[in-house]
């Protein structure tokens, strides 16, 4: 058993001219909750779908639980539970019939656990699936996935449609899942405050490419943001430093601690006023802004 649960190795996939995924190389360590973060259309779902045999990369390889997705799809699916907002159980009529249908497929189904989960997520057997709200259907999908004793959970936006209470319940259940040895969760979500609290590692993707990845706490500490006053209006052009906002002579800078070690930040063009602590959400916004803009240069702002 290797130390990684999932390995994306230099994968590429192109969808027409508008979108391409890759090159993407990403390793999800076994025994961790791994957050996949990115704006809408970044390629998160495309990458997760590939794990479950929906779409193959044009180039590169993917290993899940030490198996190659091209050759061992059945074994991978036997050991992996998957949730996505696209799952549709309406054809089974009621919640109870959907549960009874799905459980027959899996040798690792835990009936007692399923009862607990129905209670925890407030999911009732006699309710019609088509009468459920979007969040209600998501809860059903989560009950079905978590009732299995899978080694790997792949969750594509499982927080979609969930209220704050259900979201908290979801993360409680995920941590309970992790109390069993050697379990791994790969989760994509836009609930960054939740991910910052519950996930061990994170990868941020943008336009099909990896922007950064690492241990959650190290990631948030690696980047720093400074508020500064512009002294000289010459472009920065310093590697590892980018301007994420400017208003008049005030700028907010994103600094990558792996590139720029100087602390506090010293540059002739600016006077640093304050260092502002990062949350994951702010880091995400800063990285995406910086990646999509002219990083390192004063952006041309129209007069306020």
């Amino acid at each position: 058993m290797s130390a990684s649960a999932i390995e994306f190795q230099d994968i590429h996939k192109r969808f027409g001219l508008a979108f391409s995924l890759g090159p993407l190389t990403l390793t999800v360590p076994r025994g961790s909750i791994y957050a996949l973060i990115g704006p809408n259309g970044a390629g998160k779902s495309t990458a997760l779908n590939m794990l479950m045999g929906m779409g193959e990369p044009a180039r590169g390889s993917i290993k899940v639980l030490d198996r190659d997705i091209r050759h061992d799809e059945v074994d991978i699916k036997r050991r992996t539970a998957y949730v996505s907002p696209d799952m549709d159980y309406r054809a089974w009529g009621t919640v109870g019939r959907a549960i009874d249908f799905v459980r027959g497929f899996y040798a690792d189904w835990d009936a007692a656990r399923c009862e607990e989960l129905q209670f925890a997520f407030d999911v009732h057997r006699d309710v019609r699936v088509d009468a459920l709200s979007f969040g209600g259907r998501m809860k059903l999908a989560l009950v079905l996935a978590l009732s299995r004793d899978a080694e790997l959970l792949v969750l594509d936006e499982p927080t979609l449609g969930l209220d704050a209470i259900a979201r908290r319940q979801l993360f409680t259940e995920l941590l309970k899942f992790m109390t069993r040895d050697g379990r791994t969760i790969l989760i994509s979500s836009h609930q960054l405050a939740d991910l910052e609290r519950f996930a061990d590692h994170a990868a941020i993707v943008n336009q099909g490419k990896l922007l950064t990845s690492g241990r959650m706490d190290k990631l948030v500490e690696r980047y720093r943001q400074f508020d500064a006053r512009v002294l000289r209006d010459t472009p920065l052009g310093v590697p590892g430093v980018s301007v994420i906002d400017r208003q008049g002579d005030r700028v907010r800078l994103l600094v990558d601690g792996d590139v720029v070690s100087a602390s506090p930040l010293e540059m002739p063009q600016i006077e640093v006023l304050a260092q502002v602590p990062f949350t994951l959400e702010e880091l995400f916004l800063a990285l995406i802004t910086s990646a999509n803009g002219r990083s390192g240069w004063w952006p041309h702002m129209s007069a306020a």
Partner: protein, 145 residues
């Protein structure tokens, strides 16, 4: 894996109260100082505490590493993490150092503000009066200088 019999009381953690790992470190130190966690007692495993406090495994791991680095706890491969024999003393010494450092900066701030020594001592007396000492502490005696 043996689950810790320890009845560890750490309140719900909120990101609004600072780094979560630090809250775990502070909480465990508080328990050690109050003798609710005694030398040799086992801390819960990473996974169990993470589930109980609703935080990532990494957060608990980091808190445990910090406690071990400070000599409050020690770990045994495959057995878990335990309160160190002198963990209580270290926590107390650590707390005294924190108090001393807070007094130092309070003194500095007072001097900067032009507060006289006499006024500063009166301020401290007022503070002591507003936060009555617990019974095991010696009450303050004597008159103002």
């Amino acid at each position: 894996m043996t689950d810790a019999p320890t009845n560890l009381h750490l309140g719900p953690l909120s990101p609004a109260s600072g780094p979560l790992y630090q809250q775990i470190v502070d909480g465990i130190k508080r328990e050690v100082l109050a003798d609710r966690l005694t030398a040799g007692s086992a801390l819960p495993s990473y996974r169990v505490l993470a589930e109980r406090l609703l935080v990532s495994l990494i957060t608990v791991k980091r808190a445990y590493e910090e406690l071990e680095r400070e000599g409050i706890t020690f770990s045994r491969q495959g057995l878990g993490t335990f309160v160190a024999a002198r963990g209580n003393d270290r926590t107390r010494a650590d707390r005294r150092a924190t108090a001393r450092s807070a007094l130092r900066s309070a003194t500095h701030a007072a001097r900067q503000a032009g507060v006289t020594d006499r006024e500063l001592i009166q301020m401290l007396r007022d503070e002591l009066k507003s936060q009555p000492a617990e019974s095991n502490h010696e009450p303050i005696r004597g008159s103002a200088p």
